[in-house]
């Protein structure tokens, strides 16, 4: 990869969001984050260079993660999306239906997530 990959991370639990952001930042990603779906949509609409990857929680205030996935896949079909879900939450099936590239159940290990992220980014690029 020529430049640092840009990743959009969405989660409404502050500790989870900051842990994810910190980790991806340390791994050399350019990290942009949102703690609800509406802010994520705005970032997706406004962001000029575009994202190389979106990582989203599923249950979010206002615009759910499932909605974010559907919208990303419609507007930017090549951008890979990873859904991360709390255990016992039902919308995993919905995330797959919305064409999430990967659905990962919490708790997971950050290095495992990052490895999957790298694989997906290598597989397809929106630039």
């Amino acid at each position: 990869m020529a430049t640092n990959p840009r990743v959009l991370i969405i989660d409404d639990t502050e500790e989870v969001l900051s842990a994810l952001c910190k980790y991806f930042d340390e791994q050399g990603y350019e990290v942009v984050s949102a703690d609800n779906g509406l802010d994520a949509l705005k970032l997706l609409e406004e962001d000029i260079p575009g994202f190389d990857l979106v990582i989203t929680d599923l249950v979010l205030p206002n615009v759910s993660g499932v909605a974010v996935i559907s919208i990303v896949k419609k507007k930017f079909p090549k951008v890979p999306v990873i859904a991360i879900t709390g255990w016992g939450e039902h919308p995993e099936a919905l995330a797959r239906e919305a064409q999430a590239d990967l659905v990962l159940e919490k708790p997971f290990k950050l290095p495992d997530l990052e490895k999957e992220a790298r694989k997906l980014i290598a597989g397809g690029s929106n630039r």
Partner: protein
């Protein structure tokens, strides 16, 4: 179609922003809030800003119709599907094809119908009653509810899978009393509307002082109640008296009700409690030890649970601990025994 979403509060600004960003998506949406807060207005605004504008906007109230009728309204039927089905009839899903279907009061839909709705949302297909053919429907489903659907799920009244499938976009509209600053612009908008309709010269309109007082009122019927009050003011005049009447009927000011609840004046004897001379008299058809026992137990439970809820200021998890029942059971009992919170506390 319908008014714009009027208001200056943060809540309303946020809702307008949300509507602007999601209207193009056509993703299943749930709009929640008390009756009269503007759920339908928000649904209409979603539709007006969507590419579906110009296609049908169909609304159905799931609370107003008995189960069988609601089913045939939603899915339609073939001629002869049941006694009385003399003509084939198209269902709302067919009528709304390409457009929007607003399912109002979705929380009141029966479980069997919820299952059928889930099937339509999963497959995009439905079958009219008495038909063999599955029909495809491309309908944007927007559901409105004044229930807390999460609570309905915990009481087994609403399907969790349907909940998640509907809740792709969620828009909550707080009650008017939590956004008083929206009252002046709403008054302004509807005074102009009604002045046009009434057309007279010397219509009385609420003064700034009256509007100030209106902002202090609790508006249990939300914007719909505000509209009615404004109409009354403009037709009858005498704004002062109409505002006074509003405050006089507010539950908090209704001392009779308030004291009987808080001091816990209760019937003294057990036969009073059981109403053996009246409704539950042995002369009645429905009299039996079993039914009276059931009623007595319900009555006692209602008293005790209300008492504990009162003492814990409606903190339900605290109350459940004191009563030594699970939180879920408490929620169920509150609803089953129709125990209502004092005004201001959420159900």
């Amino acid at each position: 179609m319908g008014p714009p979403i009027i208001g200056v509060s943060k809540h309303i600004q946020h809702i307008r922003e949300l509507v602007d960003h999601v209207a193009h998506t056509g993703l299943n949406t749930v709009i929640s809030g008390e009756s009269g807060v503007g759920k339908e207005v928000v649904a209409q605004n979603l539709y007006s800003r969507s590419p579906r504008l110009g296609k049908p906007f169909i609304k159905i109230n799931c609370a107003a119709l008995p189960e069988g009728l609601l089913e045939s309204e939603l899915f339609g039927y073939e001629k002869g599907a049941f006694t009385g089905a003399e003509q084939k009839r198209r269902g709302k899903f067919q009528l709304a094809h390409g457009g929007v279907l607003l399912l109002d009061e979705i929380g009141d839909m029966s479980l069997p119908l919820q299952a059928k709705l889930l099937h339509v949302l999963q497959s995009g297909e439905f079958t009219p009653l008495g038909s063999e053919k599955e029909l495809r429907t491309d309908t944007w489903v927007i559901a409105a509810t004044n229930h807390d659907l999460k609570q309905d799920i915990s009481e087994g009244k609403f399907r969790e899978d349907l909940f998640y499938r509907l809740n792709i976009i969620k828009i909550h509209i707080p009650p008017l009393r939590e956004r008083q600053e929206d009252i002046p612009p709403l008054v302004d908008f509807y005074v102009k509307e009604y002045a046009k309709q009434l057309g007279g010269e010397n219509i009385e309109i609420p003064s700034p002082r009256i509007i100030d007082r209106m902002m202090q009122y609790s508006w249990p019927g939300n914007v719909r109640e505000l509209q009615n009050v404004l109409k009354r003011m403009m037709v009858l005049g005498n704004c002062d008296q109409i505002v006074n009447e509003l405050f006089a009927t507010e539950p908090e000011n209704n001392t009779e009700v308030a004291t009987s609840v808080s001091t816990g004046q209760r019937p003294v004897s057990l036969s009073d409690l059981l109403d053996l001379e009246g409704e539950n008299s042995p002369d009645n058809e429905s009299f039996s030890l079993k039914t009276i026992k059931r009623k007595a137990v319900d009555q006692v439970e209602r008293e005790i649970i209300s008492y504990v809820l009162d003492k814990t200021d409606w903190n339900r998890s605290k109350a459940a601990k004191i009563l030594k029942i699970s939180y879920k059971t408490l929620l169920y009992k509150i609803s089953d025994l129709a125990i209502t919170p004092p005004p201001g506390k959420r159900r």
